[in-house]
């Protein structure tokens, strides 16, 4: 594929086209990933997640500035929600990153979730592989604004930065399961606002409760809009990354994520095959009628369907 050659040689338009392919076309997407996979694995993948309006885009913008000062190339995938009603989306993360639009060392791509619920889009991981092969030293993935349980970013990133802001609830919120468990680093943004210190204290107390943690996540107070303490945050990101590298955790984490990805791919394909087969023969329809009339139960029917196909 000519586009791949061009992308590997640093052509931004080709890179953009390939990302569209992995977003839009399942068959071609497979082709692309097969060919570029051996070129991936060199970038440090940083996930930036947190609730809507926490300042993820602004923080990303400032981090990119810092990375560029050190001459590191950066790819950014910024995910925003797709409408469940129309399939349309307003992708607005770029507004905060316009300073980098003309920088040849930065590639920014906005992505709609297109019905995917874990905080990323279905194509995010593949787009990440393209930016990795493109040669980005760092890839920053900015999730949609998350609530309590959108944790897919852990399956994609090496390092997860959880961006919190003051005023989102009491200390019980911080010991709940879900997104509070996934941060390698916590950034309390808008730390010039009232209550920021308290938010940081609550997160610290929550983290101190956990005895079985490998490395206790640091909590950094930042004010991204004023570019305050971004260097501290960056320092913590680097510290975490080298810790993971030295302890072999990075490799372990990447392997686990690849395993998850592979299992998902198998599941997806299997589901397609099973549904296609049983749909063709009208078996799902028949079973549904039997279920409606209480002639059978869902688990018996499941076993019957699977037995026929596999």
């Amino acid at each position: 594929m000519e586009l791949i050659e061009r992308m590997l040689n640093g052509d931004k338009r080709a890179c953009a086209r390939l990302i569209s392919i992995v977003e839009n076309n399942a068959k071609e997407s497979e082709e692309v990933i097969r060919k570029i996979y051996k070129h991936t694995g060199n970038a440090h993948i940083i996930g930036i997640t947190g609730p809507p309006g926490a300042g993820k885009s602004t923080l990303t913008d400032k981090l990119v500035k810092l990375l560029r000062k050190q001459d590191k190339t950066v790819g950014i995938i910024a995910v925003d929600p797709t409408s469940p009603y129309t399939g349309g989306a307003i992708l607005g993360d770029r507004i905060r990153m316009n300073d980098h639009a003309l920088d040849p060392g930065v590639f920014i791509r906005s992505m709609g979730t297109r019905g995917y619920l874990g905080g990323l889009a279905k194509a995010t991981r593949n787009a990440m592989k393209i930016l990795d092969a493109f040669g980005c030293d760092y890839i920053i993935i900015e999730t949609v604004g998350v609530g309590q349980s959108e944790v897919d970013i852990v399956k994609a990133a090496d390092t997860v930065v959880m961006v919190m802001v003051p005023g989102l609830g009491d200390d019980i919120q911080s010991i709940k399961a879900g997104i509070m468990e996934i941060g390698d680093i916590f950034a309390v943004n808008k730390s010039d606002l009232f209550g920021a210190q308290r938010t940081a204290t609550e997160i610290n107390m929550m983290l101190d409760l956990d005895q079985n943690m490998g490395r206790r996540p640091p909590v950094v107070m930042v004010t991204a809009s004023k570019n305050e303490n971004i260097d501290k945050l960056y320092h913590e990101i680097e510290k975490q990354y080298s810790y993971m590298k030295v302890e072999g955790i990075l490799e372990e984490r990447r392997k686990l994520n690849l395993k998850r990805e592979l299992v998902e791919l198998v599941e997806e394909e299997l589901r397609k095959v099973v549904l296609r087969e049983s749909d063709n023969n009208g078996e799902i329809e028949n079973a549904s009628n039997k279920l409606l009339n209480k002639e059978t139960d869902p688990f018996t029917e499941r076993d019957l369907l699977l037995k026929k196909i596999i």
Partner: protein
């Protein structure tokens, strides 16, 4: 997987009135398109760079400052330089009738002046994106 139309909505130049741009962004969203909104005060260079990285089908620009005769042709020229003239470029805002023929001649696909129903813009995009 069906491919949604991707549109970059941008405000080139120095006027700070983005209500029209937001309205059209919202209308395109509701028509099932993916709208990349880049905000105020963009240079033509920034807009073209963003359009290429985002691999959009359409660039929609709103200009209310009177600088349309400078900014629109600049965008077309930059797109050509990048071999990206396949991207459909449309404009909106306060553009005098007399200026429109030359802009269309210069490669802008359509100009939508105040009062145009958003449905017209949606229809135009859907019919003209390859």
């Amino acid at each position: 997987m069906s491919k949604p139309i991707r549109v970059l909505v941008a405000k080139p130049g120095l006027d700070g009135h983005d209500r029209g741009a937001k309205m059209i962004a919202r209308a395109l969203r509701d028509a099932g398109m993916e709208v990349i909104y880049t905000g105020l005060r963009q240079t033509p260079e920034q807009i073209v760079a963003a359009a290429i990285q985002e691999d959009v089908d359409v660039i929609g620009m709103s200009i209310l400052s009177g600088a349309h005769n400078h900014l629109f042709p600049k965008i077309i020229k930059l797109l050509k330089e990048q071999n990206a003239e396949d991207i459909l470029v449309i404009g909106g805002g306060v553009i005098p009738e007399d200026d429109i023929p030359a802009l269309l001649e210069g490669g802008i696909a359509a100009i939508f002046t105040p009062g145009t129903p958003t449905t017209d813009t949606v229809k135009f995009i859907k019919e003209n994106v390859k």
